[in-house]
């Protein structure tokens, strides 16, 4: 490793530092989605009927498929980590690639959802035929927040696919497993965020 690894006394201390850096970064990301959720809570309390209407009109099936896709990707990445710990690197690489593929599938489904909304005349900012047909006060806020929240989450999934894909190609060796753990922590966090966005925009 480069110059900065020799100022740590041991690999264990370096692994500890990387894991803590991830924990701190995930706390920071939690606040990023807290800000979006604050807007959702604020507007949901102001326009309850518009949100009920919006949720009712959302593409619930595609959203639910996406949830299953993300959950399976998280499971496969967790199993991949366990495989790496027990030395079965080829299986670990396969499972990691599968996780990255699930991420890509998630984004593909997301894009089809967006196309479906655009076709229906739903655009951020309350523009489009849908809002003329349903002039409900507060409905633009629901859809704008939907695009904001799923957009930010989509960007994080994209970054996750990049990180997991990189890890699949450059699978770390036995002394550097903490690098794989860091990527896994980030991916599980992105899955966690979707577990809360899904009910808010699709189910209830």
């Amino acid at each position: 490793m480069s110059a900065d690894s020799d100022h740590f006394e041991s690999v264990a201390q370096r692994a500890q530092a990387v894991r803590l850096a991830l924990g701190v970064f995930l706390a920071s990301e939690t606040l990023l989605f807290t800000a979006i959720l604050a807007l959702v809570v604020g507007y949901r309390a102001t326009w309850p009927e518009a949100f009920a209407f919006g949720v009712h009109h959302n593409t619930k099936v595609l959203g639910s498929i996406n949830t299953v896709v993300l959950l399976t990707s998280s499971t496969s990445l967790a199993v991949a980590l366990e495989m790496l710990r027990t030395g079965r690197r080829r299986v670990a690489t396969a499972l990691t690639l599968f996780t990255a593929a699930c991420g890509v599938a998630f984004l593909a489904i997301k894009i089809t959802e967006y196309e479906h909304h655009f076709a229906e005349g739903i655009y951020p900012g309350g523009r489009g035929a849908f809002f003329v047909a349903h002039p409900i006060a507060g409905l633009p806020a629901f859809w704008t927040l939907y695009f904001l929240a799923t957009g930010f989450h989509g960007v994080h999934v994209l970054a996750g696919v990049g990180a997991v894909g990189y890890r699949a190609i450059r699978m770390p060796d036995a002394t550097e497993i903490h690098r794989f753990e860091a990527t896994a922590l980030y991916w599980h966090f992105v899955d966690l965020v979707w577990l809360f966005l899904w009910p808010l925009f699709y189910l209830a």
């Binding site: 803590l20 807290t34 959720l37 809570v41 998280s74 499971t75 366990e82 966690l192 009910p199 699709y202």
Partner: protein, 107 residues
């Protein structure tokens, strides 16, 4: 149970919970719908945290960092929700249906 099998079982459990909340969303639960969906989501989230992210085996400062994030999440949502829902309009507006109807609590 070997760690690998444990993770697969947890994965299946998560899928089951997901389908459960999907089915529950078709039921006419009205105001309970959100609480049901979010509580199932919290259970799934804790499963992911404990078994996939192994938060139990992480260092104390790791747990402290996540706890601080979650604590601030709850505080911010609570304070924004109380602000928006407890705002009161003009004295006579509450008789007519003004856009910002608020229950007439003392505060």
């Amino acid at each position: 149970m070997s760690p690998i099998r444990l993770r697969i079982v947890v994965g299946l459990l998560l899928a089951v919970l997901a389908t459960a909340s999907f089915v529950a969303s078709f039921g006419h639960l009205g105001s309970f719908a959100l609480t049901v969906a979010l509580s199932i989501a919290t259970i799934k989230a804790s499963l992911v945290l404990v078994f996939f992210m192994e938060v139990g085996k992480q260092s104390a400062s790791f747990k402290l960092a996540l706890a601080a994030g979650v604590l601030l999440l709850v505080t911010m949502l609570a304070l924004v929700a109380t602000d928006v829902s407890l705002r009161r309009g003009p004295s006579w507006a509450n008789e007519t249906t003004s856009p910002r109807r608020a229950d007439d609590s003392s505060l």
